[in-house]
Symmetry: C2
């Protein structure tokens, strides 16, 4: 089972690919960060993300894609770019018939460190340990993409697009509010 994790973003979009063997053993396949300059036009930036993602999907042929679940309350400065990049990931994965799972940041942290409130450094330390890459210096976006893939390997796949959102234990109060708003939006169409 090969999982491609994406930490979406316009300035830096992390992509991490891991293999999961039957005994839940994790093997690093690849990790990269697509970078675009804020000086570029918005269309060109989103297109660069698309091209980099398509390249990775074709090179590694993952079985599943794991994507960070974005909340509108987070990082007002960057949330729109993050959502635009995540739209690209959703469309490209769906076009290839790949299963897509969304995981919240706190789910991911809880998966790799045991705590939904772990800091960036703890996550990085655990990702390096779990993937036997102890001396690697990774960009945070690279670490987060690998952490997403690990979280997806352990929490399991298909269906979590919806059902993970029901797991209150890893949602902050703001995320729960957002999840409720999303549900309401689904009901109202």
């Amino acid at each position: 089972m090969r999982i491609l994790g994406v930490d979406p973003g316009l300035t830096r979009c992390g992509i991490g690919v891991i293999d999961v063997s039957s005994g839940n053993r994790l093997v690093l396949v690849d990790v990269r960060v697509i970078q675009t300059s804020p000086a570029m036009g918005l269309g060109d930036r989103v297109l660069a993300i698309k091209r980099g993602l398509v390249e990775a999907l074709e090179e590694f042929s993952p079985d599943r894609v794991a994507l960070e679940r974005v909340f509108a309350q987070h990082n007002l400065r960057t949330v729109m770019g993050t959502a635009q990049a995540s739209g690209i990931v959703l469309a490209e994965a769906a076009e290839r018939g790949l299963s897509i799972d969304l995981h919240t940041p706190s789910e991911v942290k809880a998966s790799v460190t045991g705590s939904g409130r772990a800091n960036k450094e703890q996550v990085a330390t655990m990702v390096r340990k779990l993937l036997s890459m102890s001396d690697a210096a990774l960009l945070p976006d690279a670490t987060d993409a690998l952490a997403l893939a690990i979280c997806n390997a352990w929490r399991g796949g298909a269906g979590s697009l919806v059902s993970n959102a029901n797991d209150q234990s890893t949602l902050t109060p703001a995320q729960q509010k957002w999840r409720d708003a999303e549900r309401q939006s689904r009901r109202r169409g």
Copy 2:
């Protein structure tokens, strides 16, 4: 000059195509709404938007694309889906080398009705009048896509992706705050 306007959204994505002649005369070419069900998987919804948009781009070969500028403060319930859909529009337009312009809702209203605070009905009335389609019943998303295209025809194109955001006169206080946050984000990379 042919302009394709998009009112992005996951549940309903409006697409309006107009031709602008040398004397600024407007001619309706096509208007349609791509609809996806909230019961579908998120990836399949975004993919349906992508396919519908690509179909329209290929069928009508526009010279420019006009897209609604989305603000994170607006409609918390739907803003993430709107941004995901707009990411698709940005990438597909850029991939075809089309110029892309973003317009705020108040810019669009001001363009077609003379007031940035006009209501939906005023916008619809003016769109029908300007495009000589007085007896047509249009979905709001269709009207908004056509209004975007008209706004783009009149305000002019290339460059407004950035420079329209500087036009304080049509930004609400919340939009100005958001615009400032975006600028800051650009500076910080």
